[in-house]
């Protein structure tokens, strides 16, 4: 169990260290993935644990032998993917700084105005900025 948690932490670390180039995942997709892979086990073994408390993850570990391995893979993927998504969101405006100065001068920040401008300039912004927008989940 300890080894597994360490693995999870390492996985997340690798994903965030990879920054914008890592595979990112929305929280909606992460939720759907966990529900699909772990939902039955959660309802069976952890029905009294609230997902927001972190108890569900430890409960699943306690029932590891009865929980399908796909569930633990899904938990890892969800953690890594959403961590990478948040890292990308944090990094994107930095990656797009030059593009913003070039294409979005005078745009009033806040209310996603800058993002709107960058997306309107999507075809001409630099590769790193474009990749950042995609990894942040904002490009489509």
């Amino acid at each position: 169990m300890k080894r597994h948690i360490m693995g999870l932490a390492l996985f997340a670390l690798a994903a965030s260290a990879g920054g914008a180039s890592a595979q990112t995942m929305s929280f909606a997709d992460a939720g759907a993935l966990i529900a699909k892979a772990c939902g039955a086990s959660i309802e069976r073994f952890c029905a009294r644990d609230d997902i927001g408390t972190g108890k569900v993850a430890s409960c699943l570990q306690q029932h590891q032998k009865d929980v399908p391995p796909q569930c633990f893979t899904a938990l890892q993927q969800a953690e890594a993917g959403t961590t990478a998504r948040l890292a990308a969101q944090k990094a994107t405006f930095g990656l797009c700084q030059d593009d913003a100065r070039q294409f979005c001068k005078g745009v009033k920040p806040g209310d996603a105005n800058l993002l709107d401008c960058l997306l309107a300039s999507y075809k001409v912004v630099k590769g790193a900025c474009r990749q950042g927008l995609t990894d942040a989940g904002w490009a489509n």
Binding site: F27, A28, I34, G39, R48, I51, P109, W138
Partner: protein
Amino acid sequence: MIAFTRRAAGLALAAGLALGASLGFADRASAQTPMSSAEITKQLSEVTQFDPSLTAQVLQNMAQRAVQANQPLPLDQSEIAKRLAKLAQIDVQIQFALNSAVIRPQSYAALGSIADAMHHPILWNYRFLVVGNTDTTGTRAVNLALSQKRAEAIKEALVNLGKVDPARLDAVGLGQEALEVPSKPTDPINRRVEIFTIGTMSAMPKPLQ
């Protein structure tokens, strides 16, 4: 009351939504099917005004007083309801285990969509109120307590799993005191979670030079 206007231009482009021109109070009953994060983002960002005096604590006190005095709290006809109705908001159906605040797995994706919306730059600077509601099955006092726990469970999940800053979220349960459809008090449609955009975190930043 602070008057506040914003431009929603451009988001529709980013979101690629197939929504009607105004998705507000009147459309709430149609929120039974899970909303995408783009839809949530759009609705929660349709801020026309804030109402700083309408806090979680104020609402909670009102509901508690009404239940303790065994007085009706006809929120649907009240000033409070009218004030709430003016705020940008969404209605979500989150499935909980029976008589408990445990969120069922089938609602994880819906919760994730809310978190995604709150991480979108258009909502970065905003604060939200999570309101839990029940129907009239059971007793008023139990429903009030349960809805409070459920609203808090959603906040907890959005914070711990969805990585939303807790300072951006307030949670309050109104029990059966704010029925969606007062003519059908036991209809499950009344069991719902509402999220209101209630204010900003800080002043909006300055333009790029």
